[in-house]
Symmetry: C2
Subunit: 368 residues, 2 copies
């Protein structure tokens, strides 16, 4: 058992009888006591991908109690495998093992694994327990809170899924040591988002600590993850199924999803697309007079300092954006709904911006 | 607009903010006002099967408001098509139509259609509205209450699914005129079940009215459906996700599922297997001293009077039962759990019966 290098932090996501804890620390995967309290019974299915399996699967399984029937499923790595067919492989494995309603699924990996395992758990025998062990910064600060699970469909991202809460989330920041720098930056996009939409003092802290975060200083990373999860938990507790304020979490995502879809999933990372998308949303917010030029410059600077792009893809025309943005899940009855900024630390929903105004912004916006 | 032939009845299934009404009457499908109040928006996908479509699809669609975008999906008929592949066809149609979160699915058909459409709705964009229009007696008294949705897997029945409540259930008993007599009897199995597990006066009423029910007398059928749905609604309101008393609804089903699976789905109808399964459960209850010989005779007589089998299939050995019963979802850790009768109108859960006792019962039980 490795001694944790830094203090462990625990948050509670308050959702009534679906509440659960998020444990954040270094070395949690080496702690035999970390997972055990959250197992529903004696049957455990650990699901991971081909990239993560060689790094952490053996250690995680080794620390489960010896009387537990542990099985594993290793899926291919990548957003293109976030499909109902891969989820079916998890169901096949559960049924071949004869696992019952008291089994527990463990999602070991990034957001794709977390979303698929969550959905597999939501639908297996109409719902079984699952535990998230996110191994990327993006999944640690984003998909570990909120209960959104699901898969992509050829006609749209995250179109099939369920709201299903985990029994616990274990965030071991030691896993970030194996994460490529580009993916760390992509995770920081979502961290910055929390500051921009809800917490100006946190954004100010991020400006002061960006270098430490990019060097994965344990204290800074734990603080950033804890504050991000807390902000998301507060929002989700207010609005579990996204009827209102939860939509603020989509700052930069309407533009970002259009970029990801146009470039082909995986060419721009989700966080990179969200970075450029937040810069676009901030620019529009300034053009509409919601925020000042100084605020826009500040938003752009923090996004850029995380190693993220501000400009849009070179080969993406305004029509490429508009066509895809019209399909956004947030839209109501053919009306575009955008998340914009009223101030640094204060997001708002806007459905008054016409396609003409949006087209003018996109026509004049820098390309990479 | 056809005038309803008999009084309409409305029940409320009380599930907090997921409560919904069940309307029972004759001619509801010809009433332009029946569906409209329950549409979430202006996009409606009606899903039915090849048997039901020629009978009722046109009438149902004709009565939807003219400003609604109505699409249809017609699936093949039969339990063998209750699969994730068929549910995917519904998702494909929804996405091809560009339907958003405010769309409404309508399930027009029996239990298979209801279960699949409910699951498609539960998972489309993490949950959209659906309305049940059950057209068989079995689905009217069983799957229209309770929110159990899902599909079969090659390794088990109803293994993939979700709890998801409809916005409303419309039961038009005029649809029973096109139902084969054998399927009417299968539906009566579940009606009898409600009397046996919870309501001795209702069982007594059934004994007096069985001939009228088998002739589809409107007053008797409406009364039987309303009382059945009310009993199920009361049980589900107490125990939405089957932690306790809801398991009583499985009287006869552990034996019955074994019969269905062994014979091949569709050879014995579900209700026929449940009829023989309830007779087996009553026999075991009498052998254990829970009920008297007179009670057993009474249970057998009412099952038989509905046109249902009491005996087990000729070619099914005791081991064929036991092997499949060990896989039942109700079992906890390797222990068999059976629903038995403490009295007519009073079910109980039993996990004390050994496999030896069960084997002795099955060895001596009559075969067809």
């Amino acid at each position: 058992m490795t001694q944790p290098a830094t203090a462990q932090r625990t948050l509670n996501v308050a959702l009534g009888d679906r509440s659960y804890p998020i444990h954040i620390g270094s070395g949690l995967l080496d702690d035999p006591q970390a997972l055990t309290p959250y197992l529903a019974g004696k049957q455990v299915m650990v699901v991971t991908n081909e990239t993560v399996a060689p790094l952490y699967l053996e250690a995680l399984c080794a620390h489960l109690p010896s009387d537990v029937d542990v099985r594993t499923v290793i899926l291919p790595d990548g957003e293109q495998y976030k499909t109902i067919e891969q989820v079916s492989r998890i169901w096949d494995a559960l049924l071949e093992a004869g696992f019952n309603r008291r089994c527990t699924l463990v999602a070991l990996g990034g957001g794709v694994i977390g979303d698929m395992v969550g959905y597999a758990a939501a639908s297996y025998q109409r719902g079984v327990a699952f535990i998230q062990v996110p191994t990327t910064l993006l999944s640690q600060v984003d998909s570990s809170v909120g209960g959104k699970t699901g898969v992509n469909h050829p006609l749209g991202k995250n179109m099939i899924g369920a709201f299903w809460q985990p029994k616990a989330v274990l965030i071991d920041i030691a896993t970030l040591a194996s994460l490529p720098a580009r993916e760390l930056s992509a995770g920081l996009a979502e961290v910055i988002k929390y500051g921009l939409i809800r917490d100006e003092p946190f954004l100010s802290w991020l400006e002061d600590n960006m270098a430490a975060l990019r060097h994965i200083s344990p204290e800074a990373i734990i603080e950033a993850i804890a504050r991000s999860c807390q902000i998301k938990a507060d929002i989700v507790a207010d609005d579990e199924t996204e009827q209102g304020v939860r939509a603020h979490l989509n700052l930069g995502h309407t533009f970002g999803h259009a970029i990801e879809a146009h470039q082909g999933y995986g060419n721009w990372l989700h966080g990179e697309a969200v970075g450029a998308g937040m810069a676009l949303a901030a620019t529009l917010s300034q053009q509409l007079g919601f925020i000042s030029g100084a605020d826009l410059t500040r938003a752009q600077a923090v996004i850029e300092s995380a190693g993220l792009p501000l400009a849009a893809p070179t080969d993406m025309q305004s029509d490429d954006f508009l066509t895809r943005m019209r399909l956004d899940k947030k839209n109501v009855d053919a009306k575009l709904r955008l998340v914009l900024l009223h101030a640094i630390g204060n997001a708002c929903i806007d459905d008054t911006t016409s396609e003409e105004v949006l087209r003018a912004l996109l026509d004049s916006y820098p390309r990479l």
